[in-house]
Symmetry: C2
Subunit: 227 residues, 2 copies
DNA sequence: TTGTAGTGTTACTACTCATAACACTGCACT
DNA sequence: AGTGCAGTGTTATGAGTAGTAACACTACAA
């Protein structure tokens, strides 16, 4: 009956546990009142701990927030990629599932979504989790597009070149400019709708944002296959 | 040679002047370091004033920020509406100008744009300046669409009903669902691109966001006239 | 001329981020 | 087993900010 976790010493276990608790409590505070309400003092209070002790785990409040941002990106990307697996479904349906998962995550954690994309500018070029989620989207789009027009452009030579460079920066050098463009369009469209939906710009429930996103996604995809 | 501004007393003039200076300095701080850097202390310091004096003008920091948000919305909406006038140009071109003005404002004042749409959720339903800017956009789209298919829908009955209700909430009850839908699409698409552009998601200058916006706007407009 | 409302000041409290100084403890090493 | 150190916690403290209180000066109206 002796446990197998000998790789971690008692101290390491306790540290990991405390780290996890800091993360959980931080997210609870953020989800409840927004990232501005997250303070070492409040955090330590609910953890029955002194505030300076938190500095043993994060060198500053800013560093803690940065960590939470990283974790959140990972969670969003995971949710999106998981939804994109979609078993035996068609690539088109899987794109819809991916997009729906994106919106669902944003609606479930609106303050975290605001933390990720709201506090601008944050320069998140080279964000690995998001790059992975984009890779999943580009994969699906490439399947939909098929192998035939592999190098079909978007009809704009300058933009095509930029899209190629962007695809290379995503570690997807084989991506066709058109697929790259559609991937960007889907992401920007969905983000635009979700972002404005969260601010309550549509007067709250007067417009079905989910339906709007489906229409926008389908429209973008038809730019991929049709002319 | 006696001045004509007798409607304002000396006190009222000084108050208006101080109020204006608070606004200017606040925007300078925000543009430089973001809204989080705006404190009554910093504000009062650069104004060579004591911090509590600011409370004679705004009851709290939150109230000051709220005021700055309102002013910023007004400025953005004015910039957009002004660009949409566009003299003798065609409605289609004027939509492009409107959209370009939106992006230009966001790029010129990225921290303010982040303040407006970043700190979510803020529930800005019933935002008069933005409603006015949307009205200008809907006007142009209605002209483009022409009077013929005045009640042409978007092909989705439920969504059409929601769009009608949304148009009514915008004080534009005569708007066709299709024009309303295109207006929303243009706004969400442009906001999505600009918002992600500001976060540096495109790797900074690898993708021409302006070109992307033009393509997206044209695509949305063709959904208005074509099928 | 005088009272009052408006505008400014300094003094103060409460809260936050962050550092310093110190105490206890797991754990590695002899 | 004993020793010492790194790791983890504490309290004390400083600096910065939001906001209030008490008080002083001033424009202006009665």
């Amino acid at each position: 009956m002796t446990d197998e976790r000998q790789t971690l010493s008692r101290r390491e276990r306790l540290r990991a546990q405390t780290l996890q608790e800091i993360e959980d409590v931080s997210f609870a505070i953020i989800d409840a009142d927004g990232v501005h309400a997250l303070s070492f003092a409040a955090l330590a209070r609910t953890m029955a701990m002194s505030a300076p002790a938190v500095y043993r785990y994060f060198p500053s409040r800013e560093a803690l927030v940065a960590h939470l941002v990283t974790v959140s990106y990972q969670q969003l990307a995971d949710a999106v990629r998981e939804a994109a697996e979609g078993g035996k479904r068609t690539p088109r349906v899987r794109v819809r599932l991916l997009v729906a998962a994106y919106r669902d995550w944003a609606l479930r954690y609106p303050r975290r979504y605001g933390m990720l994309f709201g506090d601008m500018p944050s320069d998140m070029s080279g964000n690995t989790p998001l790059d992975q989620a984009m890779a999943a989207l580009i994969d699906l789009l490439s399947i939909i597009q098929g192998p035939s027009p592999a190098d079909a452009g978007s009809g704009d030579r300058a933009l095509d070149g930029q899209l190629r460079r962007w695809a290379i920066a995503q570690d997807r050098p084989a991506t066709s400019p058109r697929a790259a463009r559609v991937a960007i369009l889907i992401w920007t469209r969905v983000h635009g709708i979700v972002s404005l939906e969260l601010t309550g710009i549509f007067g709250n429930q007067t417009v079905d944002a989910q339906r709007l996103i489906e229409l926008e996604t389908d429209n973008a995809i038809s730019a991929l296959v049709g002319t």
